[in-house]
Amino acid sequence: MPVPILEVQNLKVYFPIFGGVLRKKTGEVRAVDDVSFTIEAGETVGLVGESGSGKTTVGRAIIKLVKPTSGRVLWEGNDTVPMHESEFRPLRKKIQMIFQDPFGSLNPRMTVTSIIGEALDIHFPHLSTSEKIQRVIQLLDQVGLLPIHLGRYPHEFSGGQRQRIGIARALAVEPQLIICDEPVSALDVSVQAQIINLLLDLQKRLGLAYLFIGHDLAVVEHVSQRVLVMNLGQLVEEGTCEQIYRHPRDPYTQKLLAAVPRLELT
């Protein structure tokens, strides 16, 4: 049994609700409520659930974009939750994220070189300018883009190309785990397939692990070895694709699968 690289234990993320004149805390939204799972090196774990089920928050909590209320997030056995940002920074090289919106995830005022170069500046500050450019070209090549794209701005690319830039940015730090937050749900179906194939291809070549967050059950099934199902902040079922898709036990999972539209040929 391989050792997990990431272990999430009893993760809870509650967002406080403030109300009244004095802005006192009047309640809380339990975005993530007691979620535990593991990810092993090189595997893809799918995380499905409807909108608002807390799947994105789980991803963001792992990479410390939101602060967990309680619970532990272990990277190779070390708990990252109590870590200060400066302690956690080296781990940001290991865990990266790809975002849902290919239009919003790239700064419109930065060129491709500076978008991808930013990652290199932070984690490989010793690189010279020419080495940096070489590395960016290499990364662009890995995701199927060309050196002529270096000086261009995000608005000059199509959605699929932008998502490729986002993937190149995540790859720049040579991560072991990439959290893919609905990476294809904003793309056309034909482009979705290209991006999915690119992700699978990169996984094979670089040995990446993915936490693949999505609401499209077919896509998640296609890429994942194991699937987690979330509802209202809680993990309702976990299993291999076979178990979840062919023999769902939890009533919510059954309902989710039944809701997938099917093409009836009459």
């Binding site: 963001r60 990479i63 974009l65 940002e85 956690f88 920074r89 940001r92 990266q96 994220m97 975002f99 849902q100 919106d101 239009f103 919003g104 995830s105 790239l106 700064n107 419109p108 005022r109 930013e118 990652a119 932070i122 984690h123 199927g144 002529i148 794209h149 000086g151 261009r152 701005y153 995000p154 608005h155 000059e156 199509s158 190309q161 986002g166 940015r169 730090v173 290209q194």
Partner: protein
């Protein structure tokens, strides 16, 4: 798979293309550039340096209150000084006050707004309540009081105008930061471990630049008008140094006998203010991301 790529167009080229199609804005910007150049030449070389026949401060009482003629295009004032010379010389003072006061207010406004909008929580609370408190004072009387205490030098006026007029900018920048900080590219930068300072000033601020720039351009005529108002009330730049405000102020007692003393500086203020507004408006239109495409 990939379409044929169109030639790359940068953000600046887009903005310029949009701006240059707006005639009023281009004419205004041209006028302001010319005015700035003339003011600068007068300031650097002085009247003697460029062979200008009149002096802006030296009285020539035998020529006093002459209406506009072939020699004195805009007439002379009560001390016989050429009004055109004083206007051109005064342009330097007015524009300097406009630009520098706005620089001061923009710097404070951007920093305060950025801190409040980026950090939110109690920092936002403290800074914004301070802004509210400052906004409660009638600005002009605040300036008047401070200038009366500190004395009316150009530098005091610049700093005071700057210190009381940053609140609107701070609110604007805060609002921009509040919305821009939720962009996924900001999250992406955080996920990479980017520092807060760079996130604020490299990722968020450049995207908020368009409205900030427009506010700055629109703030310049306000500062010029404030200075003119102060000078008119006698709290502005001290004579004999001419500014548009104190030329009007000096001329007001002759309003029935020498209309040119009031009219021409008034028109100068009007045209310059209008030019700044039109140019600022053109800038706002051309930097509108929704219009020029993301």
């Amino acid at each position: 798979m990939m379409k044929k790529d169109p030639p790359s167009i940068g953000m600046r080229q887009r903005v310029w293309k949009e701006f240059s199609s707006n005639k009023a804005a281009v004419i205004s910007a041209g006028f302001l550039a010319l005015l700035g150049a003339v003011a600068l030449i007068f300031f650097i070389f002085g009247v003697a340096g460029i062979g200008w026949p009149y002096d802006p401060t030296e009285p020539a009482l035998e020529l006093k209150l002459m209406p506009p003629d072939a020699y004195h295009w805009l007439g002379t004032d009560n001390l016989g000084r050429d009004v055109l010379t004083r206007l051109l010389y005064g342009a330097y003072v007015s524009l300097t006050i406009g630009f520098l006061a706005v620089s001061v207010s923009m710097t404070i406004g951007v920093v305060v707004g950025a801190l409040a909008g980026y950090w939110r929580s109690w920092i936002d609370g403290v800074l914004m309540r301070t802004v509210d408190a400052i906004m409660c004072f009638p600005t002009f009387f605040l300036i008047l009081t401070v200038v009366a205490i500190l004395g009316p030098s150009i530098w005091n006026i610049i700093i005071v105008i700057g210190l009381v007029s940053w609140t609107g900018t701070a609110r604007l920048v805060r609002a921009e930061f509040l919305s821009l900080r939720e962009n996924q590219y900001v999250y992406a930068a955080r996920a990479l471990g980017q520092s807060h300072l760079r996130m604020m000033f490299q990722h968020i601020l450049p995207n908020a630049m368009a409205p900030i720039l427009v506010t700055a351009v629109l703030g310049i005529p306000d500062a010029i008008l404030t200075e003119a108002g102060l000078s008119f009330l006698g709290f502005g730049v001290k004579p004999p140094q001419p500014t548009w405000g104190n030329i009007i102020s000096d001329g007001k007692i002759y309003i029935l006998d020498a209309w040119w003393l009031i009219l021409f500086p008034g028109v100068a203020i009007l045209i310059t203010t209008l030019a700044f507004y039109l140019a600022g408006d053109g800038l706002r239109e051309s930097t509108n991301i929704k219009k020029t495409g993301k």
